[in-house]
Each structure stands twice: as structure tokens, then as C-alpha cells.
Symmetry: C2
Subunit: 426 residues, 2 copies
């Protein structure tokens, strides 16, 4: 099926500001509360939110096999389970409906009133009910930095890292949409001289600049997803801030991995940008040496050129971009991650989320966490208001952004933001 | 509210075989398919399954605040979310309905036909939709054994272990009910001399004898569950076999913890035995030294005296009990686990599952995994058919069982069984 919605010459009758993340070539999917407090599945063009539930009721998806209530749900899980053919038909149809020359909805005031919302009339929700959340550790630069900081700079990468897309399970319950405040966690930290562990609010609160992909219902328990088919099972991508309390994490993580240092909150951007919308931004990833085992061998261009940045905005102050990175730096690609995740027969369901791990690039200004940017607190990061940060302070808002751009089109993700509130008293 | 259902003098008009796990004092909750292929929530007395959806439609729960469809669901999540007061009212009412002297249902042949099933007329399902699955590592004997086998017998326990109920996130999607076959996983293993990782079916497939508790909707994100209130948020317990591929696990688990070595399957017993039914079997756990931090300080008797065993049944052969342990050996109790899990504000939902970790006792015959029983393959375990096992072989069925017993009553869990099928060819 052709990706006609990707045609860069297409223009919408809806206004799209210059440098918008959401031209008619994007057509992301999300879930929002409307001005009437109804929850619906929607998309966005420019700064207009579009109620797909209403569009479907009005007959605009005629000819596409969809259940009546497919968009009148509080998550995208069922729509995603319909599979890639359906996603493409729907995305292409939406593109057609909003095409400059198509009068069908454009000239129907009554329909437009039911279907269109300004962004401040709606409230974005979590787009999916995440059944399982897996986080990978797939940036070589990040793994090397962390290995240098916590273990041995001479042997920063552990022996398995170049053979396995290392991953672990995260917590689904504490995944929140952009805009939800994040409470600084309390917890145990390494004992001081008296041998008793420390306890209280984390002193080393950090962000992690990540992306995450959302899967469709993929494989039965006991079956794998061959790497050649892995693409088909990925619906789309979001930005992910995998908040981390480094002091809690450092004390708890041996031998079973990070737990309370991570599971207090993970923020995602609310619009899922489809893999189809990102199709024209495919690039090759870093050369893999040693060669991966056969089940991890991929074809060309399995990475995506997505510019990423992280900003800190102090309470009442201005934003400072503290990191500029790119999704293309990932050593292990998404298809390798999915093929690896299922090689043992682990089943993947619609709405599962798989994070990339922190995406650090080769230069110090591209490191995707404060741990790396401030080199474990030894090099404070300067903000534009004259203050500096080793880690994240109460009142700070951390904002992740990401977009693809070529000479014709820009496809972006919108903001992935969260403000840190002071810890609760115990 | 009194736990009248626990009264050991109560007898049912339903037949209960001697040594049944399911006397009228148990009343566990589960989900099953009936002979008419209808899914319903039910309970069990002796070898009779009881359709609670039908009982409710027939008016037997009059006076208890329940939605009409609360038992006509394919999971217990909503019923569990109703909270402890409701669970107790329902359990006491069921006990009353099946009391020897109560003719209401006993003498109503038509109602009995709608409500009662023999066990071979039904098919047990997963009792809950597990939102998040956490596995702890709470047996000191197990942690010491594993530390001795893989690290240093002189320093077997890691420094954090006596301060923190160590836990990590597992995979929800691959949790399966007793009776579902388990496919031997394929995967990567440590490189041999040529430096290339091994690949193929796991050679070191293991069981882990665990129990797991199921939570109710407990706390909002950012709030903790104080240890004194933790009991209230635990609905009940199941047996859990946390299948493990030791060779895959050994290669992948540093630094982020076990992943594909575990997430190919986790088997649970299908009946959730409520904490209320286990009330008379509370005991004190091992002395905790050093003293835990204040948020982990518990009252008396937070452990439960539950006899546990694991058997291996070769294809076409007889069962051999290879391990006898007890849930009371847990160093960290369930309330400590729940208080710790939420101290950072991590939110717990209805239907979340928290495993104990392998429950090993002090003696070699009480070790809860083949890794420990065969001491990493150096001491093969003898089976009654003359064969021996270092790890689990294709065709073997592993069966976990558990029960509490005093001089008046026995409360058990039924079987938690899974048969191992050969790995799929890649």
C-alpha cells in the first residue's frame, strides 16, 4: 500500500504554522478529552486537534473495515491491533480529508464544529494502555559513559554489550503523559560511615533522553518475530523521559537491575508518530563490529534520523537547551531490539512500549542525561539565567523535543515535558 | 468485619474429600470457562466449581453492594478493586450459602444446575490481568546460595541485601495459568574460546518455587503505602513458577538484571487464595538483623506458614518431590515488599502481581530451584524412576503445591503445573 500521506507536496486546508511538528504529512495518533469531557482518539494538523471518533460517526472512513467504536475508546490499543494495513488506510484517508482541494469537510461548517478543536480546548491523555514496558540500553556512547563513570574507563563496555541489545523490564503503571508533574522520590541510598543506609528525597534526580516504540499484537507465546518482519509490528514512536534517581539506583541495582530508581515516573509525549510518517528519514546506523548473530542481522537503513534535544526550564525562568542528540546514533536498532526480545518466545501485545535507553551522541553536548552532561556532578551545566545544574532541582521543568527535517518537510513529536515537585515528607 | 468463613467447625453440603485444598474455609477466587464456553468468575469447594456470575444473577448476593456484572468478567481486577470490605462480605456470604444446614441453594435443583460444575467441565483461566509483575528476591537462603554459586561464598550476600527487599520488574505478557505448556527458550549464551556467543535452546532450564501476591488498587502516583496499611492492599496469593533459563540469564543479566532468561513463561496457580483465608496461619518471620529502616518496620506475625513443595514428573513417568520448603522462611515479608515498592511513590493497581523470589529453606532438600538443588549441576537430583536431573528436561512436568495445615483445617492452592516442550527450530 502506497504511503500517499507522505507526499511532501500535499498541503492542508487547516493552517499549519511554519516549523510546526504537525504538517499534513505527519498525522500522529493520540487520545484526548474534548471540551465536552468526552474521551476520543484523535490526530493533529498544525494546532488543530481532530476527533477521529466524530469523523468516523460522520462516515468519513467509509470503505475502510473498522468497528463502529474503534475511535471512541480511551486507548489506541484496539486500533493498533488492527494492523499495519488498517493504519495506512486510515492515515491516507485522513490526509485526503484535509487536503487543500477537498471540500467535503472543509465546506461543512456543522461537521467541522463536531470534529475540530483548538489545542487549548482539549486535554491529552496517555495514548495507550501499556501492557509491558521494556527499556533497552542501546546507545554505545551512553553505555560507555556510564561504564566509565561507575566502573572502569578502560573496560567501560561490559562483555555482553556488543552481542546483545541489553534490555530490562520497567514499570507500566507509572508511565504518564507530558505535562503531568513528577514528584521527587524518597528512597534508600548507600550507607555512610556508620553503615546505615541513607534515606530521604533523592539528591541526584536525572532525566534520560529516550525514544520509545509502540508495538501491535505480534506473536503468540513461544513464537519469535524474525527480524525481517519486525518493522510490521511497530506502530510508531514517542519521546520518553525515563526519569532516574541516581542515588537510589546506585544502591539498589546490583544484581537485579534498576527498580525504585526508575519506576516513580516515566513521561512520554502524547502523540504517537507512525513509523510510516518517519519513512523518508531512514538511515543506516553505526557499523556493528563484531557482526551480530544471524537472528540480529538486519538490512540497510534501520535507523531513523530524528533530531533530539533536552531543555531545562527553572521555575519562572527561561528554557536552556542542555543536550542535542539524534536517534540515528542508536547502536542497536528497533528491529534488532524486537527480534531479540522475542527470540526466546516472549510474546508482544498491542500497546507494549519499548524504550531505546538514553540516546547519547559522540560529543559531550549530545549526552542524554545530567549524569553524563555534568560528568557525575563534576562539570555543572550552565543555564541561561546564570544558575547551573549538576542534577535536576525542584521546580525545574525538563522538556524533550524531537523532529525529522529534510528540505521539504518537518515531522515532529511535540513536547515531552514534566515539572519536578518537591518530595513528600515521610 | 468478622472472618466468619474461617470458622473451622463449618461444614459444607458439598462433598469435600479428605485432605482437599479447598474446604469451605478456603473459598478462593478464579476465572473459568464453563461447559457452555461462557467465561465467569468462580470459586471452588472440594471438587466442585461454583459460578459466581450465575449465583449473583440468581440473587444470592442480595444486600452486598456489587455491580450487576462484577462476576461476569474475564478477570478479577474489578472485583479486587472493590476493596477488602467487599471481598470479606462476599467470602462470608459464599460460606453461608454452602453451609450444611442452609437449604436455600442446596435444595434448589434448578439453581444448582446453573451454578455448580465438576472440575472437568471447566477450564481455568488466568485469574487477573496482571498490569505489572514485580519479582522480589526475599529468601536469605536463596540469595546466599546464588551468591555462593555465582560470586563469592565468603561474601555471598551483597551489601544492600539486608537493608532492601531487592526486587525487579518482570514480564506480564508471559504469565500463564497452570497447565499451559512451556516452550524451552532459544537464546544467546556466554562465548566459548572463539569469542562468539553460543546460541540455541537453553541447556540449563530451571524452575523457581515462589509465591506471589495480588494487589488491589492501592495508591496514587507519588503516594506511598505505609507498612501498617499494606495488609489491606493484598487480595490474596498464588503459587508461582518463575521458569528460568540459567545459561541465557548468566550472559545477559549484567548490569540491568534478568530479562530473556525469565520472560519466556511464568506459571501461576489459577485460584487466588485470599489473605483472609490464610489468617490463622500467620507466624513471625526470621529475625531481621540489622534492624530495617523505619519505613520497613513491621509488627508481629507478618509471615505465613505455608508448606511448599516442587515435583518433577518425567514424560509418562511418576512424580518425585524434589524440594520441600515453606513460605515462612521469607526474610522480607509481603508488607515490607509493598511498603518498599511504593516508598518512592510508585503506584500499585488492582491485579498487579508481586512474586516472592525463590523460597529456599535452610536445608539442601528445601532449596527452591534446580540450580541450588543440584548445586549448579554438580549434585544430580535422583528421581523415583532411576533417572536423575541437573536441570529440567523436555517432557518433564514441574508441579508446585502449597498448603497450610493445623489440627482443624487445611487450606491449599491446588497445582501449579507446566510441561516443558522442546525448543522450536530457528
Amino acid at each position: 500500500m502506497p504511503l500517499t500521506a507522505n507526499d511532501p507536496t500535499r498541503q492542508s486546508w487547516l493552517e499549519v504554522p511554519k516549523n510546526s511538528d504537525f504538517p499534513i504529512q505527519n498525522i500522529p495518533f493520540g487520545v484526548f478529552l474534548t471540551r465536552d469531557d468526552i474521551i476520543t482518539i484523535g490526530t493533529r494538523i498544525g494546532n488543530t486537534a481532530i476527533d477521529l471518533g466524530a469523523l468516523h460517526q460522520l462516515g468519513y472512513f467509509k470503505g475502510i473495515e473498522l468497528t463502529d467504536d474503534i475511535f471512541l475508546q480511551d486507548t489506541l490499543n484496539d486500533f493498533i491491533a488492527d494492523g499495519r494495513k488498517t493504519w495506512r488506510l486510515v492515515r491516507n484517508r485522513i490526509s485526503d480529508i484535509f487536503l487543500k482541494d477537498n471540500p467535503e469537510l472543509r465546506d461543512n461548517t456543522e461537521h467541522k464544529e463536531r470534529v475540530l478543536f483548538t489545542m487549548n480546548e482539549i486535554e491529552m491523555q496517555l495514548p495507550v494502555d501499556v501492557g509491558d514496558y521494556t527499556d533497552f540500553y542501546a546507545s554505545k556512547e551512553h553505555a560507555t559513559n556510564v561504564g566509565s563513570l561507575f566502573r572502569d574507563p578502560e573496560n567501560a563496555l561490559l562483555p555482553n554489550w556488543l552481542h546483545i541489545p541489553i534490555g530490562y523490564h520497567g514499570r507500566s503503571s507509572s508511565i504518564i503523559p507530558s505535562g503531568t508533574p513528577v514528584r521527587r522520590p524518597n528512597g534508600q541510598t548507600k550507607p555512610g560511615e556508620n553503615g546505615t543506609p541513607g534515606f530521604g528525597p533523592s539528591k541526584l534526580l536525572d532525566f534520560e533522553l529516550e525514544m520509545a516504540f509502540i508495538t501491535t499484537a505480534s506473536n503468540a507465546l513461544g513464537r519469535r518475530i524474525p527480524i525481517k518482519e519486525a518493522d510490521e509490528h511497530i506502530f510508531g514512536l514517542v519521546l520518553l523521559n525515563d526519569w532516574s534517581a541516581r542515588d537510589i539506583q546506585a544502591w539498589e541495582y546490583v544484581p537485579l537491575g534498576p527498580f525504585l530508581g526508575k519506576n516513580f515516573a516515566s513521561t512520554i509525549s502524547p502523540w504517537i508518530v507512525t513509523l510510516d510518517a518517519l519513512h523518508d528519514f531512514k538511515v543506516s546506523g553505526p557499523k556493528q563490529d563484531p557482526e551480530p548473530l544471524p537472528y540480529l542481522k538486519q538490512g540497510e537503513k534501520k535507523n531513523y534520523d530524528i533530531n533530539l534535544e533536552a531543555s531545562i526550564k527553572p521555575e519562572g525562568g527561561k528554557e536552556t537547551v542542555v543536550c542535542r542528540s539524534n536517534f540515528k546514533y542508536m547502536y542497536w536498532s528497533m528491529v534488532q531490539q524486537l527480534a531479540h526480545h522475542t527470540i526466546n518466545g516472549c510474546n508482544v501485545r498491542s500497546g507494549d512500549m519499548m524504550g531505546s535507553g538514553t540516546i547519547s551522541g559522540p560529543t559531550p553536548d549530545s549526552y542524554g542525561s545530567m549524569l553524563e552532561l555534568s560528568w557525575k556532578g563534576t562539570k555543572p551545566v550552565q543555564l541561561s539565567d546564570g544558575s547551573s545544574r549538576k542534577f535536576i532541582e525542584d521546580g525545574d521543568t525538563v522538556i524533550l523535543r524531537g523532529y525529522c527535517q529534510n528540505d521539504k518537510v518537518r515531522i515532529g513529536f511535540g513536547d515531552c515535558a514534566g515539572k519536578v515537585l518537591p518530595a513528600r515528607k515521610i
